[in-house]
Symmetry: C2
Subunit: 210 residues, 2 copies
């Protein structure tokens, strides 16, 4: 039994090494998926021996599970803060920017999520069908309310949310492609993307005059 998982109080070393391992594992899982990742790869990335790594986590599964748990805790935060009381267009463009910031600052988490969904979400289906769907339904209702009140143009709220997820996460998941295609302009990709996406969704949502 791994100490880190069962102990009520963690030693300094336990905390440090656990974080080191999780960070290394995130790097590798995000690129190669669960099956494509080996414990040796994670150990090498973390600079530890394999038995030493397994002293802190019971198994490859345990590490992966921990990562997914941590991920889902924060993954939906930007959507959660979409506020029915705010200005509709501002709320949605702010959501877009927060999501884009997450793609910039946590690309490995985005890729881990993408990998999991690509495989059919075998380990997080419950979270998708439960909390995620519930949250989307709740926020979709808010958007529909805004549209009904004429405060934004009529729009399918679900596909709006999908398009926000898709466009923002694209900059993390397909980063290599984006960087290569943009070439020397790649270093401005965040600011340019932010401006482009703000414009895109503002034009979509701005209610027609009259």
């Amino acid at each position: 039994m791994a100490r880190a998982a069962s102990a009520k109080t963690q030693t300094r070393i336990q905390k440090e090494k656990s974080e080191l391992i999780l960070s290394a594992a995130l790097e590798v899982f995000a690129a190669y998926g669960f099956r494509g990742t080996t414990i040796d790869q994670i150990a090498a990335e973390a600079g530890l021996s394999k038995p030493n790594l397994l002293y802190y986590f019971d198994s490859k599964d345990a590490i992966h599970e921990q990562l997914l748990e941590d991920l889902l805790d924060t993954w939906l935060d930007p959507l959660r803060s979409l506020d029915a009381e705010g200005d509709p267009v501002d709320e949605i463009t702010s959501y877009v920017i927060r999501k884009l910031e997450m793609a910039r600052d946590f690309p490995r988490e985005s890729r881990l999520f993408a990998n999991e969904i690509l495989q059919g979400a075998p380990r997080i289906m419950d979270q998708i069908a439960g909390p995620l769907k519930d949250l989307v339904d709740e926020k979709a209702a808010i958007i529909t309310g805004w549209a009904d009140a004429g405060r934004i143009a009529p729009v399918d709220p679900y596909h709006l949310i999908f398009s926000i997820w898709a466009t923002t996460q694209h900059y993390a998941d397909f980063d290599i492609q984006v960087a290569v295609v943009l070439g020397e302009r790649a270093d401005q990709r965040f600011d340019d993307a932010a401006a482009y996406l703000t414009n895109l969704f503002t034009k979509l949502l701005r209610p027609s005059e009259g």
Copy 2:
């Protein structure tokens, strides 16, 4: 040496089995990536024994390589047919629809591509940096030309293309998530997505009046 790869004339069985294997391999590679896929998985999916499968292809690598080669041949077709002589908004919305149809009709190919990019495009970097980038540059110039002529609203052509890729491929790569979130409305997802995306990009590109 596998017969199928070297023979100049293929027998009926060679053609049938090769296609069977490629289809099965596409299914598995698309979900689990190269490292996460085993030859036994592919063989089971194809209903063949492992040695029998290896009679047609030299190695796991050879199958994967063949799939990527076939994929890149057709992957960029929709973008290639973007026509500088057509109506700008029609050309781009038609491109969006063609891409969305590909996501619907060839989701496994989309996921295979996604998996490859997630891993850093180790096997198709040449294609990305070469033909793909060249084509994007060419079409971006066309879009810029349209904008300069005032025929569409000014827009960053690269991020426009990224957002088209992202939004359309999302329906293939994240299909499980989309299906779960949409629930009973999921069977209309293609038509609804087509309407939503057409509206999204039309509003973005429609030149401001006056």
